[in-house]
Structure formats: structure tokens, C-alpha cells
Amino acid sequence: MIDVKNLSKSFGDHLVLDDISEHIYPGEKVVVIGPSGSGKSTFLRCLNLLEQPTAGTITFEGTEITDPKVKINAIRQQMGMVFQHFNLFPNMTIRKNITLAPVRTGLMKQEEADDTATALLQRVGLEEKADAYPNQLSGGQKQRIAIVRALAMKPKVMLFDEPTSALDPEMVGEVLDVMKELANEGMTMVVVTHEMGFAREVGSRVLFMDGGKIVEQNEPKTFFDHPQHPRTQLFLSKVL
């Protein structure tokens, strides 16, 4: 589904991603973990070209999206993204937050988008917040809305950039529950997270990144129970 070949990214002299090649298959739940500064967020942001790779190619469903001629907006419509700091639009109601993109990109008419928004909000138990503004919500509610906003575009893959890192511990659960539900429905997901429990439970594959490289990857059980690489062992001994 997403094919990454020899991806490198540097900010000035600082090499953040170092020649990464990876493939993400449909229906997979890839969890990316690693220490701060290991490049995991940059890797994720390269997948929908929020960061422009310095070298290498990314192919999404047969389209090489790193080609400058590609209409990137059309590609991004099929890749939902959820941010650490939610990035809801504070100047709009929740309903408008959700319906803006589907309507403006021509995916849906306003009424259809409104219905979709209502249905999605019901799914995450926030239908009564449709006319509220983001500032009136708690962090966990905001992040659930952010997930719904991305889902309203009916994406083929969802990218999560540390979706629970800015939340109060109490609210982490409600967001992870929504993500689990999404995973159970078969959504292809790439999740950058520090939630090892989530990685173990939901992930179909865990990537461990350090120093801009994927150091080790495996299916979760083996990965957590029998880490091979010393760097992985060191990292897991600190976080588990």
C-alpha cells in the first residue's frame, strides 16, 4: 500500500532519516516506537509529504507521491492524519471542523457531510458536542474529534503522530479505545506512539527506530518478549 524506498531526510546538516526502506501492507497496524529524536515522527510526516524527503521515493497505491508532478492534495485526501496536539480549528464548531474538508474537496455535499459527521460523532460518543467549539472540550475529546475529522474523508490509511502524548493520563484510554475500534474494522494504520500496551495489543508489526534507522522490527509478541538488538533491549528495559 505504501512503499518507501531509500528515504532520507535531513534538516540542514542534521540527518534525521537515514536511508529507510519499508513497506506497509493493506490492513496492517504498524506501530513505530523509539526514543525522542529517533526520526519516527519525521518518518510518519514524510508518508503524506508534510515533510519533503531529501532523497528516496514513496509510492502510495502505485503512485509515486514524491514525484513533484503528483497532485499531492488528492493523495492526502486518502491519508488521514492525527496530530499530537490535535490541531482542531478553534475558529469553527466541531461539525464544521469535520465537514470542511469533505465539502471543500468535493467529496460530499454539505448535507451528506453533516450526516457523516453526526454518524461519526455518535460512534465516538460525542454527538452532543457537534455545535461546541474545540476550546470547550477536554484533551481526550479533542483527540477523538481529530480522529473523526480525519475519518470523514474516508481515508485508506490513517497516520497517528503520538496521538496520546499530550493527554492527561486519565484521557489516554478513551482515545486508545477509538483507535482499537478502528483497528478492528480493518483500517490500515501507522502509529507513532509511546504506548507500549497499545503496540503489543493492537499492532500487527512493531518498528523500533533509533538514529534515523529502523533498528529492529517484528510482530509485537516476539518483539517485546525477545528483542534481538542491544539498543532495543536497552530501550525496552527503560520503558517497560
Binding site: 519533503q52 488528492a74 490541531n87 480549528f89 475558529n91 469553527m92 470547550q136
Partner: protein, 262 residues
């Protein structure tokens, strides 16, 4: 009204002759002379109309110019290496440079000098002083508005436009629905300030013959040789205008704060 004229005719010669009048009698004579005699209040009214018209035109021009310049400058500053094709970068550079030159020249020279250059050099043959004045003020204001808007755009969390773009919205839509509305709210106080400065700066177009409020006052004290009442009078009128617009501005701000309520 006619009653007032009778008193005026009665007291004015007495004042001239140096006779002892009460404070209010004296005040009345000067006031009548400055505002009522020969329907002079009409001249002030006309002047105020011109002041408002010039302010409005300069404001529209200033915001249009400022918006364009600010968008060019931020778009140029925010582009990251490799993100846009080299062709757009080649096109952007001179445009950005032009915008920088514009802001530098306008902010770096006095308003009065700009007016004189526009009125007496560039549009030497134009008789439409008021329009030349409005044009100059608009161009002047544009440079300041550009910096205000640029500040507003830069103050916004980049995550906002990233979120817009990640949903597949284009640059224009992201600016229109997400960035500009939020930036506008943030810059409204500064923009209101700029508007007030602009309103008062219209008085400067008198130097090239623009017929606004100060021009009217000057015309009147040129006839009566009595400066205090016309000048204090127009000062009060400017003040009243500014107070009205400040009140409107705070109402607008309150309305925009709607989404902040918790």
C-alpha cells in the same frame, strides 16, 4: 437661528471695540463665527465626508496591498528547500524582493514627504488632490498593514495549516478557512490601531490641497483670523470619529471571541 444672528450682529462689534462682554457672550461670538456664520458647518460636514471617504478608500487599498505583500512574504519565508519546484522559486524571488523594497521605502520615508512627492511630482498635473491623497495614504498604509498581517500569519501554530493540508485541502482553502480567520482575530487590535492612525493622517492631505476636515478649518480661520474655535472644533470631530470606530472595533472583537468561550 435668526435670533442667534441678531445677537451675533449685536455683540460682534462690541467685542471688536474691546468692550467688556461676559465669558459666554464672547464664547458665543467666536462659536457663531467659526461654525454658524454663512452656514460654515456645511464646510466641516463636507470636510468630514471627505475625511471618511479618503479613510475608507485608503483602508481598502491598504488592506488589499498589505494582504498581498504579507502572503508573498510569508509564502516565500515558509517554503522549505525542495518543497516547491525551482520554477516557482525563481518566480517568487523577484516578487518577494519587490515586496521588501516597497515596505522598506514606505516605512523609511515620512508620510508628509510621500504626499508631497505624489502630489507635486508624480501626479503634478492632476487636479484631483483628494484622490491622490487617498492613493498615497493607501499605499502608505499597505506597508504597515503588510507587517501587521505577516505578524498575524506567523504567530499562528504551523500545526493549523498542517492539519488543513493533511486533510487534502489546498493552500488557498487552508489560508481562506483556517489561517486567515484566525490570524484576523489576532491582528484586529493592531489593525484597529492602524485604522485610527489612517483616519487622523488624512489631515495631512491638506498639504497637497485635499479638501478634508483640516482644509475646511484652515479655509475658515483664513477668513475670520480666529484659529482657536475651528481647530479645537475639528479636533473634537476627529476625536468623536475615532471614539465611534473604537467602539465598533471592540464590538467586532467581542463577536470574534465567540469561539473562545469555554
Amino acid at each position: 437661528m435668526e435670533q442667534l444672528a441678531v445677537y451675533y450682529e449685536l455683540w460682534k462689534p462690541m467685542l471688536r471695540a474691546g468692550e467688556d462682554l461676559s465669558f459666554w457672550q464672547e464664547f458665543f461670538v467666536y462659536f457663531y463665527q467659526a461654525f454658524l456664520e454663512n452656514n460654515r458647518w456645511l464646510q466641516y460636514l463636507e470636510g468630514m465626508g471627505t475625511t471618511l471617504l479618503v479613510t475608507a478608500m485608503a483602508l481598502v487599498l491598504g488592506i488589499a496591498l498589505g494582504l498581498i505583500v504579507a502572503m508573498v512574504r510569508t509564502a516565500y519565508d515558509q517554503q522549505r528547500p525542495g518543497q516547491s519546484s525551482s520554477l516557482t522559486r525563481c518566480l517568487m524571488w523577484p516578487v518577494n524582493f519587490l515586496c521588501k523594497v516597497y515596505v522598506t521605502i514606505i516605512r523609511g520615508t515620512p508620510m508628509m514627504v510621500q504626499l508631497l512627492i505624489m502630489g507635486l511630482v508624480i501626479f503634478k498635473s492632476s487636479r484631483n488632490f483628494t484622490m491622490v491623497g487617498a492613493l498615497t495614504l493607501g499605499i502608505n498604509s499597505g506597508a504597515y498593514v503588510a507587517e501587521i498581517i505577516r505578524g498575524g500569519l506567523m504567530s499562528l501554530d504551523p500545526g493549523q495549516s498542517e492539519a488543513g493540508r493533511s486533510l487534502g485541502l489546498g493552500y488557498i482553502d487552508t489560508m481562506r478557512f483556517i489561517v486567515i480567520p484566525q490570524a484576523f482575530k489576532a491582528i484586529l487590535p493592531a489593525l484597529g490601531n492602524e485604522f485610527i492612525i489612517l483616519l487622523k493622517d488624512t489631515s495631512l492631505i491638506t498639504v497637497i490641497g485635499g479638501k478634508e476636515l483640516l482644509y475646511a478649518a484652515q479655509g475658515i480661520y483664513g477668513r475670520t483670523y480666529e484659529q482657536m474655535f475651528p481647530l479645537i472644533g475639528i479636533a473634537c470631530m476627529y476625536l468623536a470619529l475615532v471614539m465611534v470606530f473604537s467602539a465598533l472595533q471592540s464590538r467586532l472583537e467581542r463577536r470574534l471571541r465567540q469561539s473562545d468561550r469555554r
